[in-house]
């Protein structure tokens, strides 16, 4: 038992060492502590020009407009008129579908992309040889309930597509070169990083702030952070997002459009049946056509005019010589 005894001197030395260690740890923790949570967010920002997923243009095949009430039939025809999904998707491609999943509302009120449409587009991608099809959005409401209540989660399950629910590590601070608003701002980057192709899918809606919400506005769902601050400059952020993302293909679902009380609506009374599906490589042109269904001209939507000036597309969709077809029920 004598081995256990320590001298008074040893005791003080050990106590001093322990005390110094504790004090050093506390000082270090104090130096490392950041009281402002905003400063804890990633500081490194990727400066990028654009994320280009587009394919080579084919003369006379830039936009198709198909009428009919069956979404699955009309979208199939619309894509076929542009050369078929194999023009856009190559075997082995990973594809990201970016629908509007903004609200936890049922599909019947058309505030979000319709699950039947998403299912069909995913199927077309798989038929063209896609290796994987992902679906993502950063909804206004709780993401999980949005994907479930809009029935997009079940549609994805049926066709083998994978839902990517936004997580913090999916966002990356991004600065778009030349942008005034997208500066060191969190973008839902990870799903975009791991795919070869991106397809935007949107509905046609009245929107109290941006007048109309369609394909270009739909990229708003890639923004993270407190994005509501951009509502003060909604046209500019819509245009910057269109600069940021150059999609492979866009599909505008105007089977039923929300003509009032947008963007949430809430009742079928807010809808008008227009039985039209638009597929395009030019989202400015597709939105310009969509605006006409809401009784608007491109000039009524400042973001369309600005986008055209930046060369992102044309508001004169007729100049692209749209390919028309009708799918009978």
């Amino acid at each position: 038992m004598t081995e256990n005894k320590i001298s008074r001197r040893d005791f003080f030395i050990r106590c001093t060492k322990a005390g110094l260690s504790t004090a050093a740890a506390a000082v270090l923790a104090g130096l490392l502590y950041e009281s402002d949570p905003a400063k804890i967010s990633p500081q490194s920002s990727n400066i990028i020009e654009a994320m280009n997923f587009s394919v080579l243009p084919v003369a006379g095949k830039a936009i198709s407009i198909v009428t009919g009430s069956n979404r699955q039939a009309t979208v199939t025809k619309a894509v076929e008129l542009l050369g078929g999904m194999q023009r856009f998707i190559k075997p082995g491609d990973n594809v990201l579908l970016k629908p509007n999943v903004g609200f936890s509302l049922p599909p019947r009120v058309c505030a979000t992309s319709h699950p039947e449409l998403i299912e069909q587009v995913a199927k077309l991608c798989f038929q063209a040889g896609a290796k994987k099809v992902f679906i993502t959005d950063n909804p206004i409401n709780d993401p999980k309930s949005c994907f479930e209540l809009t029935q997009i989660a079940s549609a994805a399950k049926k066709c083998g597509a994978e839902i990517i629910l936004p997580r913090q590590d999916h966002f990356k601070q991004v600065t778009l070169k030349g942008a005034e608003l997208i500066k060191n701002w969190p973008i839902l980057y990870e799903p975009l990083r791991k795919v070869d192709k991106v397809i935007g899918l949107a509905v046609v809606k009245d929107h109290r702030r941006s007048i109309a919400s369609m394909l270009m506005k739909n990229w708003y769902g890639l923004l993270g952070g407190n994005r509501s601050i951009f509502h003060q400059d909604i046209d500019k952020i819509i245009v910057e997002l269109a600069v940021l993302i150059k999609p492979t293909l866009v599909i505008l679902d105007a089977t039923q459009i929300m003509v009032s009380n947008g963007p949430t609506g809430g009742s079928e009374s807010d809808l008008k049946r227009t039985d039209t599906m638009i597929a395009s490589c030019d989202q400015v042109a597709a939105d310009s056509f969509g605006a006409s269904l809401l009784g608007l001209k491109p000039d009524d939507l400042p973001y369309l005019v600005k986008a055209e000036k930046l060369g992102l597309g044309t508001t004169d969709y007729q100049s692209l010589k749209p390919l028309y077809a009708e799918v009978k029920a």
Partner: protein
């Protein structure tokens, strides 16, 4: 010495166990951080918002039993304030924020027999009756059917909308189902009854006479009513009298002087646009002007500017104006 060796060995083992445990905890924290669910932040914010006091909102709007025994709550109550309303209704938030919005409570109820059948209830605290009416009248749906038990309320095949007291209620249904609509209407009645218990200030619409009043005809004209610049926030109601539609209107001004200023402004507007002053009507302190076949009889009562207009006979318009002014003066709930 063997004793010491054995003791050192056991210390070493314990040390390893502690180190391994710390490594496990460290890895667990890393994994948890990596899979941090982004919406958790907004959920946390919603919970913070839930603890913020609303102006006049009782705590039990969205009870478990709101939709009866056949329904169960499908989520917890969500709470929003002016800072985060956008998170629930996006661009439509502006309409509410411009009209005095205080808070929103939401909850979803699903049918016990089929979870596909659900209803989501929105309770907007708008602080004042006129604010609640403003958002109600600003987004009326086509194909609506008035609720005969509510002063301001209607339903469509898949939703219900009510303004009651300081509150505006919406019930959104997942399906076009009579059963669902019936249950939702019962819930809406409960909400309206609760709203009626919350004290609220007098509301100009309450002064419109009830005789010959067309159902569901109340409106709020937010800006430049009848083409007159600056004539804002005018409540109107339609009356069917002798085959003509006559419009009664009223503005709740801050004080008597403001009401008189608006009175003079509108009178001047009518005259400057070619209106013809008519001989004084049987209503004291009123003015009557005929312009392009439409006659206006306008008057003030305390802080209210009011009038009637239409292409009916001057006699009918005068009678309606007298009835309207009597309603204003006879009531005891004006603010003076």
């Amino acid at each position: 010495m063997p004793y010491k060796s054995s003791r050192n060995q056991s210390h070493t083992i314990i040390s390893y166990i502690i180190v391994i445990a710390l490594v496990v905890v460290f890895i667990a924290i890393l994994i948890k951080q990596k899979h941090y669910y982004v919406s958790d932040a907004s959920i946390a914010e919603k919970n913070v918002a839930a603890n913020r006091p609303a102006t006049s909102q009782p705590p039990s709007w969205l009870s478990e039993q709101l939709f009866g025994d056949d329904f169960k709550p499908a989520n917890n109550v969500e709470n929003y304030n002016a800072d985060n309303l956008y998170e629930k209704i996006d661009g439509k938030a502006d309409l509410y924020l411009q009209n005095g919005f205080v808070s929103l409570q939401c909850k979803r109820y699903s049918s016990k027999s089929s979870e596909q059948n659900w209803a989501e209830v929105y309770v907007y605290d708008m602080a004042k009756t006129k604010n609640a009416f403003a958002v109600y009248s600003g987004q009326k749906r086509t194909g609506r059917k008035s609720l005969d038990w509510a002063q301001f309320g209607y339903k469509t095949t898949d939703s219900i909308y009510i303004a009651a007291g300081n509150f505006y209620f919406e019930i959104i249904l997942s399906a076009d189902s009579n059963e669902l609509l019936h249950s939702a209407e019962a819930g809406a009645k409960q909400l309206a009854a609760l709203a009626s218990k919350v004290p609220c200030e007098p509301f100009a619409i309450g002064f419109f006479p009830q005789d010959n009043l067309a159902a569901d005809s109340y409106r709020l004209i937010g800006k430049d009513a009848f083409g007159c610049e600056g004539m804002d926030n005018i409540f109107t109601a339609i009356y069917h009298i002798d085959g003509n539609d006559l419009t009664a209107y009223i503005a709740d001004m801050n004080d008597d002087n403001s009401a008189n200023i608006l009175f003079e402004k509108y009178h001047k507007f009518l005259i400057e646009n070619g209106g013809k002053e008519l001989a004084n009507t049987a209503l004291p302190d009123s003015k009557a002007v005929e312009l392009f076949g439409t006659t206006d009889i306008l008057f003030c009562y305390k802080n209210y500017f009011a009038g009637v207009r239409g292409s009916g006979t001057v006699g009918d318009l005068t009678n309606l104006a007298i009835s309207f002014k009597n309603s204003l003066s006879g009531t005891k709930n004006d603010r003076k």
